[in-house]
Every structure is written in structure tokens, then in C-alpha cells.
């Protein structure tokens, strides 16, 4: 019996040491954890530089950087539930309403001083992180969509201007869709499409349609909303001058464009560094998204730094956020060109509005639709994407597909609320 007793004591001791280890803290230095995703290694290096500068200016704070690359929001949500979330993390505007509503973020408004110059941020970007008159996140950057076109492919068919209207885009696509070796298979499509709600939302709005009503319910099954989407379907099914990345064996629109399998795509500014790195031989230019129904339209995506409500180092976390979104910090980081800085002053100081490749993206900020539509948007996206693809490949007409998507989404929203 004695041996068993000893065994139990030893077991307890071991358990005690394991638990004890995690709560030790070196004197006076607080460690702030920041989590985000990473688009490429350059971005990571730039960010580490900014952190080093911050640590030099604040010797009492250490920054621990975590990179979560896959299923970012699932990981963050699960860690928020388990009280193990980082102190500061990236949050896409798309997921912000849910987290703000469930009160897991710390409001930043009380800490924001006048000299932080909040008015310098693009207003729509900041509004995406406002809830009940409180600011919960400071936008770190944004991106819009613009038309990428392959200059060489354009020259080959005698075009020298990018399309200005959607009618032109379809006309050009017909010229640009080429079966180069006449084997009955098309080598180059005119236009590459991404059949995802995050890219098509502005098409719903083009003829006055709406994605959600004022109660946050899904409302895109209207003639106005379908009219814009129908243009995308018609081009794919009737003209046969557009293709999805999976049709040509690519994993994204920018890859498809880079491989020369599509002469035009609508992509975000993140595609510029990607194309330059991965496909240095392609000669491309950008233009604003062609007008639909005579109106300009595009999507705008933004990501903010937010603070976990459970954080034990509020002051240090705020110092980090204000440094990163301050003029100096933002300038260092925004040089990479994946996304555009959210402060107007930094945007013009870095000359993005004068750069030929980036100017269309900057222009889009004025009329872009922010990718956000209440807390039910994730549910709506799943239903829309599933049914829209089904309509695109011709399993059912668009109208019945969207009707189904809306009904299913609203049923789920009702069940979840």
C-alpha cells in the first residue's frame, strides 16, 4: 500500500510543477501577444521590423507574434471561447459585427486621444468597426477590387484600352477568348471570374438590389439584385468567354491571370505583389472595374487590429495598437503594397494615388461596397456560394437558385437567433 501512496504523491507533484510553470513572469516586462495571418514572407519581415522598433521605444513591452494561416476565424473564435485568445488580433470587417455584438472585444474609444487624429482614417473603413457609438477596431489597411488586364493579349487582338463599361467587357472578352492551337479547347479565356459572394456583392447592388434587409435577413431574391448577377451567368453560359479558376486548373483568379489563361480578371491589390513575384514575365496593367448600369462599383475589404476583452495587459495592448495604426507604424508596414494604408495621409505620402498600378484601387475607395452586412453574413455567404455555382454550371436557372439560397439562409438565421 505504501508504494501506491508514494506513487500518488509523486503524481501530484508532477502535476503541480506542470501547472506552476505557466504562471511565472519576469520582472516588469509584459508580453503582448498579437495574432494575424500572413500573405507572404516579405510581409512578415516588415511586420517584425515594426515590432522591433516598437520594442525599442517601449522597453517594458515585449511583442509575441503568432501567425495563423488556415481557417483564421475558426481558430480565433475557438480560442476566444477557451479564454486563450491573443491580446491583439486581426479582424476582417466581414466577421466584426458578430464579435462586437457578443461583447468579446474591448472598446478602444476611451483610449483614443485627440492627437491620434482619427479623422485621418477613411470614414467608411472606421465605421465598419463601430458598434453602439464605440470603436472596437482600428483599420490597419484596406483593399478594393480593380480590373487587371494582360497588355500583350490586348495588343494581339488590336485592343489598346481597358473596357470602361460591362458591355465593353463582354465584347472584349469575345475577342480575347482564343483557341490558340485549334484543338477545340480554349487556351485563353477573355475574363476570369470568382463566383463568390465576397466578389459579387457589388453586382447585386448595381441595379439597386440589396443583400440584406434592415433586420439582417437575406434579401437578394429580387429582380434588381438578379439583374446584375445574370450578367455574370450569361457571359459564362451563353458567351462562353469567361472561366472559373477551377475550369482551367488554377487555384485563384490571380494565378489564372498569371498563367495567361484569362486575359482579364477582377482582383484586389494583393494580386500585384503576387503577380510580380510569381509571374515576373507577365505585362499587365490595372483599371477601375467597368461600370455596370452606368454606375461605378467595386468591393472594399478592410482588416483592423482589435483588442481581446479578456486581455490582462490592456495598456500595453493599446500602446501596440496605437503604434501600429499610428502614422509612423503604418508607413513602415504599408510599403509592401499588399493592401493600401487606411490613413489618408499615409496613402498620399507613399504615393499610392499617383502610382499607375495602384491608382484604380485608391479611386475605388470612394465608391466601393464594404464587405460587411451584419452578423448573419457568414451564413448567407455559404448558401449563396453553393447555389450561385449551381446556377453558373447550369444545374438550375439563377432565379430558382437564388430563391433557394435566400430561403435556406433565412431559415438558418431564424434558427440561430
Amino acid at each position: 500500500m505504501k508504494t501506491i501512496l508514494y506513487f500518488c504523491v509523486v503524481l501530484l507533484l508532477v502535476a503541480g510543477t506542470i501547472i506552476g510553470c505557466s504562471s511565472r513572469n519576469p520582472d516588469g516586462v509584459t508580453t503582448v501577444t498579437i495574432a494575424g495571418w500572413q500573405s507572404n514572407t516579405n510581409e512578415n519581415q516588415l511586420l517584425e521590423q515594426v515590432f522591433k522598433k516598437f520594442e525599442a521605444e517601449n522597453p517594458k513591452i515585449k511583442v509575441k507574434h503568432e501567425v495563423i494561416n488556415d481557417q483564421y476565424m475558426d481558430v480565433i473564435k475557438t480560442r476566444l471561447i477557451g479564454d486563450a485568445a491573443p491580446d491583439v488580433f486581426y479582424l476582417d470587417a466581414f466577421e466584426a459585427p458578430l464579435l462586437m455584438k457578443y461583447d468579446v472585444l474591448s472598446p478602444l474609444s476611451p483610449d483614443i486621444k485627440a492627437n491620434f487624429s482619427l479623422a485621418d482614417f477613411e470614414a467608411p473603413l472606421l465605421n465598419a468597426f463601430k458598434y453602439k457609438d464605440q470603436i472596437y477596431g482600428l483599420p490597419k489597411d484596406f483593399s478594393t477590387l480593380a480590373l487587371f488586364y494582360n497588355k500583350k493579349a490586348f495588343q494581339e487582338v488590336g485592343l489598346n484600352q481597358p473596357p470602361k463599361t460591362w458591355e465593353e467587357l463582354r465584347k472584349y472578352s469575345k475577342k480575347l477568348t482564343i483557341d490558340k492551337n485549334h484543338d477545340g479547347k480554349i487556351e485563353q479565356y477573355g475574363f476570369g471570374i470568382t463566383p463568390d459572394l465576397s466578389r459579387q456583392y457589388f453586382m447585386i447592388k448595381a441595379y439597386g438590389g440589396k443583400l440584406v434587409d434592415k433586420n439582417g435577413n437575406c434579401a437578394f431574391d429580387t429582380p434588381e439584385a438578379l439583374k446584375g448577377l445574370q450578367l455574370v451567368i450569361e457571359q459564362y453560359r451563353i458567351d462562353k468567354t469567361s472561366a472559373q479558376p477551377s475550369d482551367v486548373g488554377a487555384s485563384s483568379g490571380s494565378e489564372m491571370f498569371g498563367q495567361g489563361k484569362a486575359a482579364m480578371v477582377i482582383e484586389g491589390s494583393w494580386a500585384i505583389p503576387f503577380l510580380k513575384d510569381t509571374f515576373p514575365n507577365i505585362d499587365f496593367a490595372t483599371a477601375e472595374v467597368p461600370t455596370v448600369n452606368g454606375k461605378k462599383g467595386t468591393m472594399a475589404y478592410t482588416v483592423a487590429y482589435v483588442m481581446n476583452k479578456q486581455t490582462k495587459h490592456k495598456d500595453a495592448a493599446w500602446k501596440l495598437i496605437s503604434y501600429l495604426t499610428g502614422k509612423q507604424g503604418m508607413k513602415t508596414w504599408a510599403k509592401e503594397g499588399l493592401a493600401l494604408p487606411s490613413r489618408k495621409s499615409v496613402l498620399s505620402e507613399l504615393g499610392y494615388n499617383k502610382n499607375r498600378l495602384y491608382a484604380p484601387f485608391v479611386a475605388g475607395a470612394a465608391y466601393g461596397t464594404i464587405w460587411q452586412a451584419g452578423k448573419n453574413l457568414p451564413i448567407i455567404v455559404t448558401q449563396f456560394n453553393n447555389q450561385f455555382i449551381s446556377a453558373l454550371i447550369g444545374e438550375q436557372p439563377l432565379q430558382s437558385a437564388m430563391k433557394k439560397a435566400e430561403a435556406t439562409a433565412n431559415r438558418e438565421i431564424e434558427a440561430a437567433s
Partner: protein
């Protein structure tokens, strides 16, 4: 009083044996029993996990919701189709492979290693490799094209997306079951075959009257494990569809649906109810199989 109880040999032995089992009981309790009980509890509640944790008793509401949820039926249908196609094929294939390897062919040890390789490879890696093979301009389409057979959009076309996962799953799990069959085959006494040979039985007769009946318990095990494994299909369809179960719900499986509700919509109550339903379906399937295999 306590002293007297302690003196009894039976009690002492019982205490000692439970103490020996304690590590297992504790581990099983924490990681198996408590989660199961908790999941059953969750399935009768409306649970909010983000922010302040809260439970609200909702009776059978979650289960009523399952009955009206169109995606659950699609997922069940997909899963059933998957089971119905994959299990028979992989069982027969495993048996054929085992029989081939059990015969005296040259270099059979090498064949065993080669056949077993897919099973020891991680399924995530396998799926990624297969996504390359299935690519529109990938290996498989090039091969089919070379033979002048029709090519498919293996990942993007809802009509074939699930079939591509089936193909991959059969290829990767059949060898595992092959090894089990192989072990069972080597257990069959040679004397039985010798006696049958003397009686004038042909090769086929030996197979149908000796090999197959003696393999029956193993076949039951393999079919049961195959059904359970295929019902729980998740990783392959998750990676293939990027977590959406698309295109057009064609690769949606029950476990993927549970994942979506639990971690995307954070609706733990409903997800737990779905998990309970799946457990029920699997139990039912296993019971049905037992009656099939248990005539004598």
C-alpha cells in the same frame, strides 16, 4: 469497523485493482465519458459559447430542427451513397490483394510494403497530392486524354466531386484491410486445404467453401470498421472543398456539417444534436450488419 472491512481479502483486492486501473479510468472519464455526457446535455440546450457562456433548455427543438434541415438530408444522402459504394469495393479489393499476396509470388514482401504505403501516409498529404492529380490539367485528365477517354472537372463538377473522394479513399484504406485479411488467411490451417484437395475440390471450391467461411468474422470486422470510418468522413471532403462542402453541397458529409455548425456558426447545441444523430445512425448500421453475419 473500517479495519474489519479492510481485513477482508476481497475488498483489499478490489481496492488495489481499481487503483491499478485508476489512470485508465481517469483518462477515459475525462476524455471520453464526461464529453459524451456533456454532448448529450448540450444537444437539449440552446448554447451560447462566445462571450458569456449560457445554456437555455430547449427540449427537443434541436432534433426537430434536424428533421426540417435540408442540408442534413443532403449530407446523409451523400454519406449513405459514399458508404454504399466505398465499403463493398474496398472490402473486395482488400480480399483480392490479400489473396494475391498470400500466394507464392516473387517479391511479395516488396508488394506488401508498396501496397501498405498509402495507409501510413497522412490523409491530409494524400488529399493534397490527389488534388494535384485531379486538377483540370492534372495527371489523371492527361492520362484519360491520352487514351482518348472523356476528361472531367474532378473537383469542380458537383456530379463527380464526391466520386473523386471515393476513389481516393478506396485506394488509401483498402491496403489497411488487406493486411488484416492477410493475417487471417495465414491463420487458416493448411490441413483443411489438403483434405479438400484429396476430396477432389477445385481451387474455386476451396475458396468458396473453406476460405470465405473461415474469414467471416474478419469480414464482419472489416465491413463494420469500414462503415464506421466512411460515416465519419471529414478530412478529405474538408480539404477538397475548402470546408464548404461544395460545389453545390455535393461533398457535404454529416461530420463536415457538424464542424460547420460547431465552429463556423458556433451553434454547439445543434452540432451536438447532429453528432448524437450520427452516433445513432452508425449504431443502427452496425446492428443491422450483426444480424446479417450472425446466422449460426
Amino acid at each position: 469497523m473500517l479495519q474489519e472491512v479492510w481485513k477482508k481479502k476481497g475488498v483489499r483486492e478490489a481496492v488495489a485493482s481499481y487503483l491499478f486501473m485508476a489512470p485508465t479510468i481517469i483518462v477515459m472519464g475525462i476524455f471520453l465519458i464526461i464529453p459524451i455526457v456533456y454532448a448529450i446535455f448540450l444537444s437539449f440546450n440552446r448554447v451560447r459559447v462566445l462571450g458569456d457562456l449560457s445554456y437555455k433548455w430547449s427540449g427537443l427543438n434541436n432534433f426537430i430542427r434536424i428533421a426540417g434541415d435540408e442540408r442534413v438530408w443532403i449530407a446523409l444522402q451523400n454519406t449513405a451513397e459514399y458508404v454504399a459504394i466505398v465499403v463493398p469495393i474496398q472490402t473486395v479489393l482488400a480480399l483480392i490483394l490479400a489473396l494475391v499476396l498470400n500466394s507464392q509470388i516473387k517479391g511479395k514482401n516488396w508488394f506488401r510494403i508498396i501496397f501498405f504505403l498509402p495507409t501510413v501516409t497522412s490523409s491530409a498529404v494524400l488529399t493534397l497530392i490527389f488534388m494535384w492529380i485531379y486538377n483540370r490539367n492534372g495527371l489523371l485528365n492527361n492520362f484519360l486524354d491520352f487514351l482518348h477517354l472523356p476528361t472531367y472537372n474532378w473537383l469542380g463538377d458537383p456530379a463527380v466531386a464526391l466520386k473523386s473522394i471515393m476513389l481516393m479513399n478506396i485506394w488509401s484504406t483498402a491496403p489497411f484491410f488487406m493486411v488484416i485479411y492477410l493475417a487471417a488467411l495465414q491463420d487458416i490451417p493448411i490441413s483443411l486445404y489438403e483434405a479438400a484437395t484429396i476430396d477432389g475440390a477445385s481451387g474455386w471450391e476451396k475458396f468458396f467453401y473453406i476460405t470465405l467461411p473461415l474469414l467471416k468474422p474478419v469480414t464482419f470486422f472489416i465491413v463494420a470498421m469500414g462503415v464506421i470510418g466512411t460515416f465519419q468522413l471529414f478530412d478529405q471532403s474538408y480539404i477538397f472543398s475548402g470546408g464548404s462542402g461544395g460545389p453545390n453541397n455535393s461533398t457535404l458529409t454529416v461530420v463536415l456539417l457538424i464542424y460547420q455548425y460547431a465552429f463556423k456558426s458556433l451553434d454547439m447545441g445543434y452540432a451536438a444534436a447532429l453528432a448524437l444523430m450520427l452516433a445513432g445512425v452508425i449504431m443502427l448500421a452496425t446492428l443491422v450488419q450483426r444480424t446479417f453475419f450472425k446466422e449460426n
